[in-house]
Symmetry: none
Subunit: 187 residues, 4 copies
């Protein structure tokens, strides 16, 4: 059996994605997780803190998944494309995580903190990329712009696929990945 904290977080995730913050009472989280209301307040300060912790939990899980199978000597376009596939794959295989991240990061409660670190491995990856950009390996674009033009597109497409609005096979994905990374090549 999983530990209670995780059970609560997963129950919360499911309900938040289905109904939203507004329509998810703590009592419903208790019912969904088959625990009592009291025990939720034992593990989490309050509803807001619970959701904040859920966000960090999922964001970290996602960030870790990005680097799976990426060789240690990071760098090069092939690595970026591997990460891009990792991202897309994670998103479509974890629809609840994806939808929650989008919901949360677009809510007014969310304040982006650029200094926040979710995993040191990833920070390293990002600084290598930053370095490459500065050295003319890629187009000279702010990192966030680079992100929106590549991984950001993966997220958007994954949301479409989750919603069954599109259905991308590996050939199509390959084509898209090529295209987005072509767009950030140095010119």
């Amino acid at each position: 059996m999983q530990d209670k904290e995780t059970i609560i977080l997963e129950a919360t995730l499911k309900l938040l994605v289905e109904r939203g913050f507004y329509a998810t009472p703590v009592s419903e989280i208790a019912r969904q997780s088959k625990l009592s209301v009291g025990i939720i307040y034992h593990y989490f300060e309050n509803k807001e803190a619970l959701i904040r912790q859920l966000y960090f939990h999922i964001k970290k899980r996602f960030i870790m998944a990005l680097l799976a199978g990426v060789p240690d000597h990071l760098g090069g376009l092939e690595v970026l494309k591997k990460v891009w596939f990792n991202a897309f794959t994670y998103y479509v295989e974890h629809p609840l995580d994806t939808l929650f991240l989008e919901q949360y990061e677009n809510s007014p409660y969310f304040i982006f903190n650029p200094d926040e670190s979710f995993a040191p491995e990833f920070d390293l990856f990002v600084s290598k990329l930053q370095h490459d950009i500065e050295n003319g390996v890629y187009a000279n674009l702010p990192l966030l712009v680079f992100y929106d033009m590549t991984l950001g597109v993966a997220m958007s497409l994954a949301k479409r696929q989750i919603a069954k609005m599109i259905e991308l096979d590996s050939v199509a994905l390959e084509k898209i990945a090529d295209a987005v990374y072509r767009s950030v090549q140095a010119v």
Copy 2:
């Protein structure tokens, strides 16, 4: 004096973006719009309907702005880039609209309806684009993928700029627009 319906919609927009659906009581909308609670219910069925109507109002406003200054004989890459700039400009000049659209379309209440039309002019523009894609003028990608790789990026970047995370001047924008449309060229 503007008509009351508009006053209410604008007050709602401001509060929703600042605080979110949950933290925006109807009483607060009344205070913000200097009207009574009762009159809000005179013009709108209920809070949910009010927000739904706000969404249509803003979505339409945005869609109309996309085609501003675009010549009638639609088509060609220059037109697409003009629309891209229109989108970005609208977004950064209407941050409330932008943030609200993102919040709303990422909420669980929102259900995407592909058949919904916001402006016939825009439908025409889209079908021309669709036609061009099918005839090999652009890369053979589903329309939604095309969208996410182009206008979707404009929205993402605009959100960053609104949050003052980046600051793109016209040169940078030009470069980015070129890049995203390069990525959807036929190969």
Copy 3:
């Protein structure tokens, strides 16, 4: 066309019987009577006064109907039975009136006022009856008891018939009228 006051009263009657005081807003009375809210407040002080006036209107209408076709030289069992039939007939032919009277007289707002006169003819009828009782023509019972044992039964039966719980033909009614007046005969 009827005068507006009457139109309002009839609309109110219908709605009160269907929905009750609680679920009958003045705006609904306006809609039902195809008049404006304002004009209702022109003719009636407020909602409570409107309903009170409705009560007097209907109560009087009913009292008048009781004596219809009763010879002037009142008295005698035949007259009582005639009144009894009049009552029953009025009730079943005016179900809204009947249901409203019951609803109103059983509500906590209603205070019975024994001195109130709805029609002088009826007061005369009652005092003759009172006189007969005191002189041993009928059983020596308080007038209200006499009423409950006779006309009160007519009202109860009429309510049953309105609700289609029973269906009394003239033979059955004759039998019942005989029975109730037999029960108040002097012994």
Copy 4:
């Protein structure tokens, strides 16, 4: 200490009879029962359900009281008169119950359900009576007519006595009971 459900029901009964459904907010029921609003909604689905349950509670209590002290081998006029006295006595000793029952059963929310059983003992009593009527022991009248001519009168008289409009001693009651049951004798 009584259980909270009963406390709430009794508080509701008192207020409903004094003020009516309309003028009895749930907050007032909470104050009267010295409990919070929330706990009322813990025990009862909503205000309507609370009142419906109150009705069943009281109706059952009354029905049970009708048969108190009635020998098991039911039947015969003496039994009917015993029940009649039980009814009258219950009514005058429980004025709140009486007034509530009348208010509720005359409200538009109330729908009479002939198949509803409040106590199996009472159903038995009724079917015996029905049987007697069919076998000519009493006048051949529909059961509901029989009821209105006997127990119905008890209720009416009790209401008068509660309102202090009349004051019946045991001699008077005996006379009235005799009279009403005389009226339903076989002829």
